[in-house]
């Protein structure tokens, strides 16, 4: 079976500094692939190149869809072929592409992403955030929207249904009409994933989805990622520092260091891999060989974790939109 995403010889540099050098890996369809590596290894840069935010200096990024193969790099940053130098239509297309950029085309090809630092539309409600993600799916003709034609209303209702379905799946239905900026941090991260899902992707790229989450939330997240893979026909590419999460849910791990792929394979194979240990710990050999050292010590399977006791009472969250605290006399 051909992989969903093929990345070959991806190179990128900022000024004189090489951020990526010949990065090559594949993402199998229906699998969870994790990119790990020390800080500054170039993981997020890979994401930014994949999703068109950066123009890579060289390399190929191919997405295999049922309709055919899409060359993501070419779609986002088209280069003019010498034979087209005098072709007015090609020139016009090039100029238009240069003016408008092409990041949006990646999403249309079926790749969605989240960000390391949450990027929500904070002053908009949860549902509005999700509707923005579905802007392509709702009727776009101006007059239809202004006059609220039947087709427009139907399309809007369908979009809302889709948004609500995802919210329910992630247990956030109750927050549908809250402002995104008011949500607690863990929910904001979840909302960002839901928003990416609302663009209807085949490949979901998550940039450190567990950063800042507590162990319980991380566990819920890993269950959710597995569920997306198993029941929603999604392929997932994730960057993560939480080795526990990576080792437990991923099918394939790519290790990056100094902008190069130093190893890749199954999670188990990566745990004792000398190059990986060197990159993380600065030593080539496992520290204590017998029971597997270094990384393995951090790895605790989810099943062996003690059950999280129910909290004695929910934390006090004061919602300024419903409670008028200052009005209550002490």
């Amino acid at each position: 079976m051909t992989p969903l995403l093929t990345v070959r010889d991806l190179s990128m540099h900022f000024g004189g500094v090489a951020a990526l050098q010949g990065v090559t890996f594949t993402v199998a369809r229906g699998a969870i692939t994790a990119i790990i590596g020390p800080n500054g290894a170039g993981k997020t840069t890979v994401f930014n190149c994949l999703t068109g935010f950066y123009a890579a200096a060289a390399g190929v990024v191919r997405l295999q869809r049922e309709e055919g193969e899409i060359d993501l790099m070419r779609a986002v940053h088209p280069t003019l072929q010498p034979r087209d130098y005098l072709n007015p239509r090609a020139l016009a297309r090039q100029a238009y592409g240069w003016m408008t950029g092409g990041t949006h085309k990646v999403v249309r090809a079926g790749v969605a992403r989240t960000f390391q630092n949450v990027r929500l539309f904070r002053d908009m409600t949860v549902l509005e955030n999700l509707l923005v993600a579905q802007h392509r799916l709702v009727e776009r003709r101006l007059w239809a929207g202004i006059l609220r034609t039947r087709e427009y209303l139907a399309a809007e209702a369908a979009a809302l249904d889709r948004a609500v379905a995802w919210l329910e799946l992630f247990g956030m239905f109750e927050d549908a009409n809250r402002l995104a900026g008011e949500l607690p941090y863990g929910q904001q991260r979840r909302l960002e994933i839901i928003r990416a899902l609302c663009t209807d992707p085949v490949l979901l790229c998550l940039d450190e989805p567990a950063a800042g989450l507590n162990p319980r939330e991380t566990q819920a997240l890993s269950r959710m990622i597995l569920r997306l893979r198993d029941h929603h026909d999604l392929t997932i590419l994730l960057i993560e520092h939480d080795m526990n999460l990576v080792m437990n849910i991923s099918d394939h791990v790519v290790v990056l260091d100094h902008g190069e792929v130093i190893a890749s394979g199954t999670p188990a194979a990566m745990q004792g891999h000398p190059a990986v240990l060197e990159a993380y710990l600065g030593v080539a050999e496992p520290v204590d060989g017998a029971s597997g050292g270094g990384l393995r010590e951090e790895v605790v399977p989810v099943s062996s974790l003690p059950p999280v006791p129910p909290k004695p009472r929910p934390p006090l969250i004061i919602d300024p939109s419903v409670a008028d605290i200052e009005a209550c006399p002490p």
Partner: protein, 415 residues
């Protein structure tokens, strides 16, 4: 803060003002000499001293328990609600009152109202660009000028009538907006602000210097609108029939203003309605999302350049229409109506009304214009006050004075 500390604080700001204003207000250039006017910095410093004290006293007062609730209420909040700001029947009453104004307003005040409504139209247009899409356009007056001159020149050279000029000038201004916006909008940063600032000045310069076509500083005449093919002037142009001859009534010089007022009012109501709908459509949500986070928008498949461009062009088109109304109402156009101060005035309308709030913008346009008429003797201080209001609003109430409303969606569980 204790009283002594407050006094000290106020004295510090007063002293600062005194020092700062000493050379520029304490002496007035008079040829190559200066006239001493020391009372002015003293007044200024005294004003700042008293003002600071009053502001601090007010803040202190609002801290007190009985007023705390009031202060909390006064904060600008975002409410998620399904209820419209005003129910339909209130809109009906408002519109009816507005439509009956020409019956009892003097010609002078009718013209004031026309200008106020033009500012409301311009404010709504600029509000799409600045308030919704978050693009700072400092040369909005350029599109206003394109509309006004488009009508005047169009009627002179192409025989364009008022009704054809409306869509024509809207299209023309939108084209200008597109051509200007394309190279700039793809970039991050605030280059748009300075480019539009320059563009506003350039359009004025072109109008001022292109004497052969635009009449230079003297300007051009702009014809009155026609109503169902009938002219509203005393004497009709070639081949036209004046309204009063057709209906065999006495000529009413007020008619032109009344007709423009009514058409303008209808257009404003329509525009208000459309902007409200746009805000709840994919395009409007995309504008606001772009204002909040451009990178997130791009990651969701939104083409940020074309979406920004649509806001910019739509704002320009509305500015152009405002220009046509202005030219038709004034009867002539000249470059002095399209200076940077005009742009700043429209921006002040948007900022005071609250960025993104259509209702606030219309109210601000009306209040500012009517106050301006009532306080004619202070007109020297008008722009100064707008400048101060902009700074104060940005620091104190960046979301405007009224609370923002967001759309509530009634959704049920599917499962």
């Amino acid at each position: 803060m204790s009283i002594a500390a407050s006094l000290k604080h106020a004295a510090r700001w007063g002293g600062l003002t005194l020092l700062l204003s000493l050379p520029l207000s304490g002496w007035m250039l008079n040829g190559y000499q200066v006239t001493t006017t020391w009372h002015r910095p003293l007044w200024l410093a005294g004003g700042v001293f008293v003002g600071t004290l009053l502001a601090m006293a007010l803040a202190r007062l609002l801290e007190m328990p009985p007023l705390r609730k009031l202060r909390w209420r006064m904060q600008t909040k975002i409410t998620v609600t399904r209820r419209p700001a005003l129910p339909a029947w209130e809109w009906g009453v408002l519109l009816t009152i507005a439509a009956t104004l020409p019956l009892w307003l003097s010609t002078y005040w009718l013209n004031v109202m026309i200008l106020a409504l033009i500012y409301a139209v311009l404010g709504l247009g600029l509000n799409i660009v600045v308030g919704l899409a978050g693009l700072l356009d400092l040369g909005y007056v350029a599109f206003y000028a394109v509309g006004a001159y488009g009508y005047a020149l169009g009627s002179q050279y192409l025989g364009l009538g008022f009704w054809t000029a409306l869509p024509f000038c809207a299209l023309l201004a939108a084209t200008f907006g597109t051509v200007l916006g394309f190279p700039v909008l793809r970039m991050r940063g605030d280059y748009l602000a300075i480019v539009t600032l320059g563009f506003g000045e350039i359009i004025r310069l072109l109008l001022n210097n292109g004497t052969e076509i635009t009449g230079g500083p003297n300007g051009l005449p702009a014809p009155a609108p026609t109503l169902f093919g009938l002219e509203l002037t005393r004497v009709a142009g070639q081949g036209g029939t004046p309204w009063h001859t057709f209906f065999n009534v006495t000529y009413n010089p007020n008619l032109r203003a009344v007709v423009i007022y009514m058409v303008l009012l209808a257009f404003l109501a329509l525009l208000f309605f459309c902007v409200g709908r746009l805000q709840r459509m994919p395009i409007g949500r995309a504008w606001e999302a772009l204002r909040e986070d451009e990178i997130a928008c791009r990651s969701l498949g939104i083409n940020h350049v074309t979406v920004k461009l649509s806001a910019f062009a739509m704002g320009a088109a509305i500015g152009g229409i405002g220009g046509v109304f202005f030219a038709a109402a004034q009867g002539f156009v000249n470059p002095t109506s399209f200076t940077f101060f005009e742009s700043a005035l429209i921006l002040a309308v948007v900022v005071l009304g609250g960025l993104g709030s259509s209702g606030g913008v219309v109210v601000a346009a009306l209040v500012i214009n009517i106050l301006h008429e009532l306080l004619r003797e202070f007109s020297d201080y008008r722009v100064l006050v707008f400048g101060m209001a902009m700074v104060v609003m940005m620091i104190w109430r960046p979301r405007g004075l009224l609370s923002m409303r967001r759309q509530f969606f009634a959704v049920g569980k599917n499962l």
